[in-house]
């Protein structure tokens, strides 16, 4: 009889590197780091087989603080590095850390393509609606009117919605969560289990340059009434008293908030979340406060073949079909002649 010894349960701090964390005290990044370490520990992830890749920005210092492999690259380009890494070694677990500036401004192009190709990677976009590391300029997700060093009279730009962008780019896994929410590890765990590009937008508070920008739905007194935490197969109900829900507005192709118990509305009138329904997802990502709650959790999840797998399968079939030819054959391919 073989004796099984259960391995000691890993703790989040087992995944911390020896480097001193250099984010501002109180930054939302700390909560996200802890959530990621929690997911790694819960899954007893092999540090040797895991790579965290980032671009440039506050969020992109993330890899230095984990005991896995890490690559802090250049601004906006982390998805391209991740693509090369997965093509070279598809067995590696790859996490990609980016922010609203890194991922949607300078790196918007690469984010579009990594999503459309469906590379097997977890993408965490820390959205603080501001440029932190360059000291407080407005970002592509900043709200109109944001005052900053480069918009002293208030930003006149219309912001991009990260989840709308990701869905429009062809992302097959779209989720959203708040940095300090207890469900963040659960959402990241789902992303980790997805074999493809799993996009997670994380509302992250920058207490130096944009403090409180998410308070209207993240604080104790606001959260329950302004957050809708999705559960696949469950009705989309929210509110401190669990008395509000989403339904399709009769006679139109849009959603509306209704109060349970009013005008004869019962739970059976409320839409049930189906994370495989793309049309529903495309509605959910557009909902905005104050008319609607902020939609959190896994918005869309529909597995599809991953990019690196498709590329490497094609190479395998070409090798098999070609009878694994010798490289020497390639050198002397085509019309040749012999001189004696």
């Amino acid at each position: 009889m073989t004796e099984h010894v259960a391995p000691a349960k890993l703790k989040p701090l087992d995944y911390a590197s020896d480097q001193e964390v250099r984010w501002c005290p109180g930054c939302g990044d700390y909560a996200i780091l802890r959530a990621v370490q929690r997911v790694l520990a819960d899954n007893a992830v092999d540090t040797a087989n895991t790579v965290f890749i980032s671009g440039i920005g506050c969020s992109s210092r993330f890899p230095y603080y984990l005991s896995t492999y890490g690559f802090h690259t250049i601004h906006g380009r982390a998805p391209a590095f991740a693509t090369g890494i997965k093509l070279a070694n598809p067995e590696l677990e790859v996490w990609l850390i980016t922010g609203d500036g890194d991922g949607l401004s300078i790196g918007g192009n690469h984010l579009l393509h990594v999503l459309r190709r469906n590379l097997d990677v977890q993408i965490m976009l820390f959205n603080n609606e501001i440029y932190g590391l360059t000291k407080g300029q407005y970002s592509p997700t900043s709200r109109p009117g944001t005052h900053s060093p480069t918009s002293p009279l208030g930003s006149v730009e219309r912001p991009v919605s990260p989840c709308s962008f990701a869905l429009g780019a062809g992302g097959q896994f779209i989720a959203r969560q708040v940095d300090i929410h207890k469900n963040l590890p659960a959402v990241l765990n789902r992303a980790r289990g997805f074999r493809g590009a799993a996009f997670v937008e994380i509302f992250q508070n920058c207490l130096v340059y944009n403090d409180g920008v998410f308070d209207s739905f993240t604080q104790k007194k606001t959260a329950a009434d302004h957050q809708l935490q999705l559960e696949h197969g469950e009705p989309m109900i929210f509110g401190a008293a669990q008395d509000k829900g989403l339904r399709v507005k009769p006679g139109s192709f849009e959603l509306e908030v209704v109060a349970l118990g009013e005008n004869g509305i019962t739970e059976s009138d409320i839409l049930v979340h189906d994370e495989t329904n793309r049309a529903l997802a495309s509605q959910l990502v557009t909902l905005r406060m104050p008319e609607f709650p902020v939609i959190l959790g896994v918005i869309y999840c529909e597995p599809a073949a991953s990019y690196e797998r498709a590329v490497l399968d094609q190479i395998d079939s070409a090798r098999t079909a070609g009878g694994a030819p010798e490289l020497q054959d390639l050198l002397q391919a085509g019309r040749t002649w012999t001189v004696t």
Binding site: S17, Q19, T47, A48, N49, T50, V51, I53, P63, Y64, L66, S67, T68, Y69, G70, F71, H72, T73, I74, H75, R77, P79, A80, F81, A82, T83, G84, I85, L87, A88, N89, E91, L92, N109, H110, L112, H113, V311, L312, Q314, I315, A318, R319, A321, G322, A324, P325, L327, Q328, L330, L331, Q332, A333, G334, R335, T336, W337, T338, V339, T340
Partner: protein, 624 residues
């Protein structure tokens, strides 16, 4: 027209030439590149040495009949080694007035013009900018002319096949090819086989093209052509025994990268974005999947290089290929590869610049960009290929240095080399010295930036290796641990070690040799890249005239060969012919305080031998 048996037997034997230059020119849609390529293939199989020069517009199909839509293909072939595509054509084949207008100024005096008079309509003459018909005035008086209604004869030859007029007319390039094959005694067989393969799905088109080819050939046989218009012989060149094929620089560089990766025992991952004239490297590697090659057509130039760096980080050989404008976009990522000390090969197939410049024309104006074009002190080895065949060896050398020194390497080719073809004696991979990579694996005392004391290369630890987990990035690193460090003394030390590592490569590359001539004397002509052939022939001719001239040609642009300063100092004069305004010259002056003089051509066209010879002669006159 028939030739009687008596005339045939009394005819003198075909005149023998040492070499000939033919330029096929027509509209972009006339199939001149195919015609030239097929003539080259047939010539190769006859055992002549050859060099080709495709010269085509950037527009895919410029308006028909215009001068800017003219596409040309020049081939130089001979019984001796030819090295360049030839200065001036002996024969110009002009399929329309525009082709004649563009190419006639370059034809050798007394050379031959073959024109399709069927295309010399009033409309086409006007489009080409001719006020009067050049066939009727004295425009062609210096030349021998062969005025044939190729369009009409092609239509007649294929009439029985009931093609549309347009389809039938498209066979006129094969008719012309047939005539030229006859003129130089080339075989039609390989071309007929190729046509059958190319038109396998449209056998009627295969038949039409073959019929036109045979008709052109038969015309040559039966027409009464005399003088240099007659059948000519060019004997095979004497070469080393072995298996041969023709190869373009683009094929050669692609094969070199694949073989280099094999010698390093690594998987090759090419990340690239289409750009003229570098796309062929991506095309080639994309169809070599059966050899385990991975290609990634990235969303842009930046993603292309970043994916290649990612692949190297994960233990493959990352390669990226582009041309000048794309290389500019890759600059920041090159800096990251230098800072993180990861192997990478960056291929720059140079074209005319600046900006979009001349996409399909050749130039050597990216030397500064290659050696200096990055922010920070960011040194990188730079290697330049000299001939289409040399691209193979240069690519292998680039891979060897990249993995041995843990560094990106810039490999310079150009539009001329990429498209030009020459003979290649196929090497045996088994005869090449492998340089297999050994990844770090021992956690004992592991530091990501621990260096080999001799090469100064850091060890290469790849994800997936237990116990070697570490973090790297573009922020300055501590000399030993690789952790982030803003320490002033550390930055000085790191900058110097990155410099010294690259400069140390000079100990690992051959000393600069003299290709032709003495290793001291009056004049050294020193070049780099695709000017090799023209410089070589010019120096050879100058020496035949008794001039004390030598040739040296640089493979390694950075670091420069360790004896180069001494070598330059042994000559009274140094001449640097370049297809730029003097970039290597500046580098040589800066490094060696030598009064190097330039010969600079920035016309989008390769040097002619005569241009370099003239420059040599004028310098020798002033010095004597």
């Amino acid at each position: 027209m028939t030739v009687s048996a008596a005339e045939k037997t009394s005819a003198p034997p075909p005149p023998e030439r040492v070499s000939a230059v033919i330029r096929f020119a027509g509209d972009s849609g006339d199939g001149m590149q195919l015609t030239g390529t097929q003539f080259a293939q047939s010539t190769a199989l006859m055992g002549n040495d050859l060099a080709t020069f495709p010269d085509y517009p950037a527009e895919i199909r410029a308006p028909a009949g215009t001068t800017f839509g003219v596409s040309a293909f020049q081939i130089h072939f001979g019984a001796v080694d030819v090295l360049t595509a030839g200065d001036a054509p002996d024969i110009l084949v002009a399929m329309n007035p525009a082709a004649l207008k563009v190419n006639l100024p370059n034809l050798k005096d007394g050379g031959m013009v073959v024109v399709d008079i069927g295309a010399f309509s009033a409309k086409n003459l006007k489009k080409a900018g001719y006020d009067t018909n050049p066939l009727e005035d004295d425009t062609l008086s210096k030349y021998q002319t062969l005025e044939l209604d190729i369009s009409k004869m092609t239509l007649e030859a294929v009439k029985h096949l009931e093609l549309t007029n347009k389809e039938a007319l498209r066979c006129k390039n094969m008719w012309t090819l047939g005539l030229m094959l006859w003129m130089f005694g080339r075989k039609r067989g390989p071309i007929i086989d190729w046509l059958k393969g190319k038109f396998a799905k449209r056998p009627e088109l295969a038949e039409a093209n073959i019929t036109a080819l045979n008709a052109g050939h038969a015309f040559g046989e039966t027409a009464e052509l005399s003088g240099s218009l007659a059948h000519q012989e060019i004997a095979p060149v004497k070469v080393e025994p072995g298996l041969y094929r023709t190869i373009t620089g683009a094929e050669s560089i692609s094969l070199g990268l694949v073989v280099g990766a094999r010698l390093a025992d690594l998987t090759l991952m090419l990340g690239s974005y289409p750009i003229t004239p570098a796309s062929t490297v991506l095309h080639n590697l994309a169809r070599w999947k059966q050899y385990g090659v991975i290609t990634f057509q990235a969303e842009d130039e930046i993603a292309a290089i970043c994916s290649a760096i990612g692949a190297s980080y994960a233990g493959a050989l990352g390669v990226t290929s582009s041309s000048g404008p794309g290389i500019a976009l890759k600059g920041e990522a090159m800096g990251l590869a230098i800072s993180t000390e990861l192997p990478l090969v960056i291929v720059n197939v140079q074209r005319g610049g600046p900006s979009t410049g001349l996409p399909t024309k050749t130039e050597q104006s990216d030397l500064y960009q290659a050696v200096f074009g990055r922010n920070g002190d960011a040194p990188m080895p730079v290697i330049a290929a000299a001939t289409p065949v040399d691209c193979f060896d240069a690519a292998i050398e680039a891979v060897r240095l990249a993995v041995k020194y843990m560094t990106p390497v810039l490999l310079l080719s150009d539009g001329y080399l990429a498209n030009a073809a020459e003979h290649w004696r196929v090497p045996d991979i088994a005869d090449m010295a492998p340089f297999p990579v050994e990844f770090a694996h021992d956690p004992e005392g592991f530091q990501p930036f621990k260096r080999d004391p001799e090469t100064l290369a850091r060890n290469w630890a790849i994800p997936g290796t237990p116990g070697l987990e570490h973090r790297i990035g573009g922020i300055e690193k501590d000399y030993d641990s690789g952790n982030i460090s803003y320490d002033p003394a550390n930055h000085q030390r790191m900058t110097e070690v990155r410099r010294d590592k690259i400069l140390g490569i000079a100990r690992d590359i051959p000393e600069q040799d003299i290709t032709l001539g003495n290793d001291a004397g009056e004049l050294l002509v020193i070049g780099w890249g695709s000017t090799y052939g023209a410089i070589h022939q010019a120096v050879r001719r100058a020496r035949a005239q008794g001039l004390d001239v030598s040739q040296a040609h640089l493979r390694h642009i950075w670091p420069l060969p360790r004896n180069l300063g001494d070598l330059l100092g042994r000559f009274k004069q140094v001449l640097v012919p370049e297809m730029n305004t003097g970039q290597l010259r500046t580098l040589l002056r800066a490094e060696y305080l030598v009064d190097a003089q330039g010969l600079n051509k920035i016309a989008g066209q390769p040097f002619k031998i005569s241009e370099i010879l003239d420059a040599i002669q004028s310098r020798m006159e002033t010095s004597s």
